[in-house]
């Protein structure tokens, strides 16, 4: 395994998060044990943000250098990010069914997350609509930058501007950290780091796989 320190660390952190997540003492709120979902649901979204940031950086690198490798990284990063985003939405819906009684609510945070995911789906559709490699790379890099700005606006800016929302973090609050005390934070931060590192590991694997694939195709070794 290349660079195995962060991969092993991510596994360790996640095992700790899963084990401690179910056994740590949580404050007594009206949603009970479902509060433990915060270690997983928020982790998914932070992982998606980390991967989309990586995609954004790859797009910028592609536009400034023109090497196709960055375009490949940007594309794979969007794929992985969309996957984690869908997981985030599913964990959120499961959580919402228990706390709010319905899987979806008309809430700016939820709608914003769904729209950001739609924007990235549109990115994937755009990629499939352009046959030429170089043109596709340039067009999708430009759109990716737009998509990332929309993601930041919808997930970071808008929910904090709304006055009353179901999802934690309206007004001045932070949408991710609702009511958490010190013991929970000891599990929460390692869990986040573990999820982010896991997503970057998945991205790394996908990128390497695709690069080998394109190498084989190029040299026609098949």
């Amino acid at each position: 395994m290349k660079n195995y320190w962060y991969k092993i660390l991510s596994i360790v952190l996640l095992l700790y998060a899963i084990f401690a997540g179910f056994t740590v003492e949580i404050p007594d709120t009206n949603i009970g044990d479902t509060l433990r979902n915060v270690f997983f649901h928020v982790g998914m979204w932070f992982a998606m943000l980390a991967v989309m940031t990586s995609s954004f950086i790859s797009s910028i690198k592609f536009l400034s250098t023109g090497e196709m490798e960055h375009d490949l990284k940007a594309n794979e990063a969007v794929n992985v990010g969309v996957y984690f985003g869908i997981l985030g939405i599913i964990t959120g819906m499961l959580w919402a069914t228990f706390t709010w009684g319905q899987p979806w609510a008309n809430d700016p945070h939820l709608n914003g997350a769904a729209v950001s995911l739609l924007v990235y789906f549109a990115y994937l559709v755009l990629r499939s609509a352009v046959p030429d490699d170089e043109k596709r790379a340039r067009i999708s890099a430009v759109y990716n930058i737009f998509a990332f700005v929309i993601l930041i606006v919808f997930v970071g800016v808008l929910p904090r501007l709304s006055v009353d929302t179901l999802h934690p973090g309206s007004g001045d609050g932070n949408p991710a950290f609702g009511d958490m005390d010190a013991t929970m934070r000891y599990v929460f931060y390692p869990a986040l780091i573990g999820w982010i590192m896991l997503s970057l590991w998945v991205l790394n694997l996908k990128v390497r796989y695709k690069m080998i694939e394109s190498f084989i195709e190029e040299k026609e070794l098949d």
């Binding site: 924007v119 559709v125 430009v142």
Partner: protein
């Protein structure tokens, strides 16, 4: 650069006035959709539905209008412009042209809407402010999306798919704004916040287009 922008803008306006293709098709589109709305509601519409239908019809009319702006010229002509002027001038002139076009579309939609479905607006000034800011916001976003979509197969479906998620922040803010304007005629704090947000988003989109269009323009 300003002289290039003026020249390109003048060229676009002249082309449009000569054939009136885009403006005519937009007017027809708006008329038909508002008429269908009128028939479906059978003249009995409440203010919330009025608001929603207005912005949805406007959304589709704007996407239609903007998709024509890049399609009208053949790709060979683009090479000519590329050699003559800076790409920033091209995108800025397209944004300005589309803004003018969008203001016209918004005005036409508003007039036709009033004709068929009546006037329910309490706060006219706020409503017109939201119309103007909204049309500018739509124009800048849609110009960029049309530039992106024109590089691919050029079909309307792609333009729609790309533009709807990007237009959603504008659309939601504008619907809330006109919702406020439909009820009251004073500028509440919420209204100021929403106006500022639409203006800010518009600025972000124009800046991004200005920076990113040169990469798109290279062939």
């Amino acid at each position: 650069m300003w002289s290039e922008i003026k020249a390109l803008l003048y060229k676009d306006i002249q082309m449009e006035l000569r054939q009136k293709y885009a403006i005519n098709s937009i007017v027809l589109y708006v008329f038909s959709t508002v008429f269908i709305t009128y028939l479906s509601f059978q003249g009995d519409i409440d203010s919330r539905s009025w608001n929603v239908m207005f912005w949805i019809i406007l959304l589709f009319a704007s996407v239609n209008a903007a998709s024509k702006s890049f399609v009208q010229e053949r790709p060979a002509r683009h090479f000519y412009y590329y050699s003559l002027s800076a790409p920033q001038s091209v995108i800025l002139s397209k944004i300005i042209y589309n803004s003018i076009m969008m203001l016209l579309v918004v005005l036409i939609t508003f007039v036709v809407f009033q004709l068929f479905l009546g006037n329910m607006i309490e706060g006219s000034l706020l409503f017109f402010a939201s119309l103007v800011l909204g049309s500018l916001g739509f124009a800048s976003t849609l110009t960029m999306v049309a530039a992106i979509a024109s590089r691919s197969d050029n079909n309307f479906a792609l333009m729609a798919i790309l533009s709807f998620p990007l237009m959603l922040p504008f659309l939601l803010a504008l619907m809330k704004l006109s919702g406020i304007a439909l009820e009251t005629s004073d500028f509440t704090m919420e209204a100021y916040r929403l106006l500022g947000m639409v203006f800010g988003l518009n600025l972000i989109v124009i800046m991004l287009s200005y920076i990113l269009f040169p990469y798109l323009w290279k062939e």
